[in-house]
């Protein structure tokens, strides 16, 4: 009965909605929520999923989109600066982990080729789970995220030689002469031609992104067809993924490359917002299917073996990566965080295992076992991260001197006047003004490099995701007078305002808003005052423009003052209507007209010859009369 599409969609969506919401409430994070959802509806529990494999193939596209979006954030220069991490740490991780696992497997009696194959397959980590988890913890942008991403990127690269290498390790009978799992059309060609094809494909992506995609987007943008823009964005991602598959590269890697190429284009933002929803849904679906593949039958039959293997795998991967990161100069904290994040097996393992079975390298029962191990290790990751965080918090409390991956609050910080969440371009200016005027403040920011820098200048800055209430509490929210929300993630900012308002009703909450809509949301969530982040800057630019156009400085200044007053008035007037979209649209159109009128009025009053207190031309007549009279005039 579960073949039909709507029923399937209903099952997946319902499971996702319920468990993810519950997991979030319990502080477990969305990844774990999805995985639990998958396990629940999977064949080993409720058995509501149909062709889970089909769904999985579809859902893996979520990973491709994820990598594309990440590529959009990585300018080529940034990628270049990461080369050491990618090839140094990443390369060493794959080799060392593979050898370590192979060694361990041989101790368990596997022949060396099988052991090596298992090692290579299990050396991979899960891009989707790692990045999503780091994202939720606010760690993806910092050094932890960069190191983890570098390693993941190399693993993606390593897939290509792996497909070539693994068949050489064949011990058993080769079941399939031509590999049906790889859709690579060039697999049968000689190596140099394959290499050529790969180079050509990469060249096509780079060149296409530069010279074809941009004009196409410009054309579509002019046509103002929103959904065509979205469709084109998806078309690019799908096209690149397919192209990469044809030449035997990882589709995710290709999508990442395409993202990097487009990172500097003017359409970056739009691409991001258009594709973002697909990423969320498909990744969710992907996690659900991973959850559904967990073979509880196998686990129940051999629980100890499985638990032992999972723990062994994760411990091995942790130790290897931790050691390598330490050798590479990372601090204990950084190395441990990266190693914890990457300690699981990856989704590539599923593909590779099927492939190795086909190539006669690994036997079917072993592959089944390893698949279960990988799936369980993936599911364990969000949990281990939570446990890891708890350990860190505990350590910090015991030894509050050294810390970077989690905040500590020294005694003097215990009673700040103000807590500033987010110390980037916006928070810095506000914060410096307040500090310069003698207010004690605690700063929370999620960018470790920024924190290091500020600490060197003796500022009290702490690492942490301010949306976490426990961090706010530790930062002194119970006794502080004010919370300034200056983080640039719009949703997080709104979430923080809402939570802080609920948990600390006494706080005055000032919030940085992205735009008018966001500002209304923040007010609705309980902010006492908002500031649209670009408003004052834009106004100041207007003043500079007016002056350059010949306005006297004071006139330009007053023009901006008038403008600000009017804009703030309409902002307040429209506030009650916020939420009723129709009414708001109408009213804001009206406001635009008001603005026209105001500007016209401004123009009229500022014209030479107009009357006001500085320019009493209205009295000219009186005075002319007075002047014409003989002798002193009487008062007018």
């Amino acid at each position: 009965m579960h073949g039909d599409f709507l029923t399937q969609a209903l099952v997946y969506l319902a499971a996702g909605v319920v468990t993810v919401a519950a997991a979030k409430k319990l502080g477990l994070g969305s990844v774990l929520g999805y995985l639990i959802a998958g396990a629940l509806i999977g064949p080993f529990a409720l058995n509501l999923t149909g062709e889970a494999e089909d769904v999985m193939a579809f859902a893996e596209f979520g990973v491709v989109i994820l990598l594309f979006l990440i590529g959009l954030e990585v300018r080529p220069a940034l990628l270049w600066s990461m080369r050491k991490t990618i090839f140094g740490l990443g390369g060493a991780q794959v080799v060392a982990t593979a050898l370590a696992i192979a060694g361990a497997s041989m101790i368990f009696g596997l022949p060396w080729p099988t052991a090596l194959a298992a090692g290579l397959v299990l050396a991979m980590s899960s891009t989707a789970i790692v990045l999503q988890t780091l994202d939720e913890k606010g760690l993806r942008q910092g050094p932890v995220g960069r190191a983890a991403f570098g390693v993941l990127l190399l693993q993606d690269l390593a897939i290509i030689p792996l497909f070539a290498l693994l068949p050489l390790l064949a011990t058993g009978p080769v079941q399939l002469t031509s590999d049906t799992h790889s859709t690579s059309l060039v697999a049968d060609l000689p190596a140099w031609m394959q290499a050529l094809a790969v180079l050509a494909a990469v060249g096509a992506v780079v060149g296409g992104g530069r010279f074809v995609v941009r004009p196409v987007f410009r054309f579509i943008a002019q046509s103002r067809l929103r959904e065509i823009f979205t469709a084109t964005s998806l078309l690019i991602v799908v096209g690149v993924a397919l192209l990469m598959q044809i030449v035997g590269l990882s589709p995710a890697l290709g999508a990442f490359l395409a993202g990097v190429v487009l990172a500097e284009s003017e359409f970056r933002r739009e691409l991001e917002t258009d594709i973002e929803p697909f990423r969320g849904l498909l990744l969710g679906l992907f996690f659900i299917t991973v959850g559904a593949t967990i073979d509880f039958g196998l686990i129940l039959r051999e629980p100890l073996l499985l638990i032992g293997l999972v723990l062994g795998l994760m411990a091995l991967k942790f130790v290897v990566l931790f050691a390598l990161a330490r050798v590479g100069g990372a601090s204990n904290r950084l190395a441990a965080t990266v190693a914890v994040a990457l300690a699981q097996g990856g989704e590539f393992a599923f593909v590779l295992l099927t492939f190795t079975v086909g190539a006669g390298v690994i036997s079917q029962p072993l592959a089944d076992l390893l698949t279960a191990v990988v799936a369980v290790s993936m599911a364990m990751t969000p949990l281990t991260v939570i446990v890891y965080e708890k350990i860190l918090t505990f350590l910090d409390r015991k030894n509050p001197t050294e810390s970077i991956a989690d905040p500590t609050f020294e005694e003097e910080d215990a009673e700040p006047d103000i807590i500033i969440a987010g110390f980037g371009r916006f928070g810095q200016v506000t914060g410096r003004l307040l500090m310069a005027n003698g207010f004690k403040s605690t700063v929370l920011d999620a960018d470790i490099e920024m924190i290091d820098l500020l600490r060197r200048f003796g500022r009290r800055v702490h690492y942490g995701d301010a949306t976490r209430l426990d961090l706010l509490r530790q930062a002194g929210a119970e006794r502080a007078r004010m919370l300034i929300v200056a983080i640039d993630d719009q949703e997080k900012a709104a979430e923080l305002v809402e939570r802080a308002r609920e948990a600390f009703p006494h706080l005055t909450i000032l919030a940085r808003a992205f735009d008018r809509r966001h500002a209304y949301d923040m007010l609705a969530n309980g902010a006492d005052a908002v500031e649209r982040e670009t408003f004052e800057g834009a106004l100041a630019m207007g003043v500079t423009a007016l002056k350059s156009l010949g306005f006297r400085a004071h006139r330009a200044h007053r023009a901006a003052d008038y403008f600000r007053r009017h804009d703030l008035r309409t902002f307040e007037e429209l506030r009650p209507m916020w939420g009723q979209t129709e009414a708001y649209m109408l009213a804001s159109r009206d406001a635009a007209q008001t603005m026209d009128r105001l500007l016209a009025a401004d123009l009229a009053t500022m014209k030479p010859g107009a009357a006001d207190g500085w320019d009493p031309s209205g009295r000219d007549e009186d005075q002319r009369e007075a002047a014409e009279q003989e002798g002193p005039a009487r008062p007018a």
Binding site: F551, R555, A556, R558, A610, W614, P616, Q623, P632
Partner: protein, 188 residues
């Protein structure tokens, strides 16, 4: 003409919140700007937001022998920013009071325009007092600071005069400023 390398000895501190609307003051300000031995300092242009740099202003005052205040008369007084400038720059301990002798021996010269005609500034005119009387607060400011009060230059009924008339006023004003500059140079 001003000899090369010579620092101007007259500082014209000018205040008009809406110069673009005042024909007379635009011409008079131009005359001051062009006058030899004169530094022209436009308050509303320098401090459109009223945030006055006190130290910079005091340095300017110290660097000149003659301080000239040029402004349109609003409600029998200076425009708001010039009052703010006096309040914040002419400080106790700098301009007056204990140790406040830094402006002593300098000259204070006022040049102002009025909307009303000359005869309004008369005991029986509608303004009931003479210009001399309306300028008393500034005159006393000079006295308190140990400065010499120069005879003010007043242009009445500025809005009513034709261009030629105003140009004549501007030429006379410029001559007056250059005279002050020349004599100040001799005394120094």
């Amino acid at each position: 003409m001003e000899p090369e390398g010579r620092e101007p000895s007259v500082l014209v501190v000018f205040a008009h919140p809406a110069l673009e609307r005042s024909r007379a003051n635009t011409v008079l300000a131009g005359a001051a700007r062009d006058a030899a031995g004169v530094r022209f300092h436009d308050l509303y242009e320098t401090y459109p937001d009223f945030v006055i740099d006190v130290e910079a202003e005091q340095r300017k005052l110290l660097a000149h022998q003659v301080i000239a205040l040029q402004f349109p008369m609003y409600w029998y007084s200076t425009p708001a920013l010039m009052k703010e400038w006096l309040d914040l720059v002419w400080l106790h301990g700098f301009a007056y009071g204990k140790g406040g002798d830094r402006l002593k021996g300098k000259q204070l010269f006022v040049a102002c325009t009025t909307g009303g005609p000359a005869q309004a500034y008369h005991k029986r005119g509608y303004n009931r007092f003479t210009m001399e009387e309306f300028l008393r607060p500034l005159e006393q400011t000079a006295a308190l600071c140990g400065m010499t009060w120069e005879n003010p230059y007043v242009v009445h009924g500025a809005r009513l005069k034709d261009d030629a008339h105003i140009q004549g006023e501007a030429d006379r004003y410029r001559a007056r400023l250059e005279g002050l500059a020349a004599s100040a140079r001799e005394t120094v």
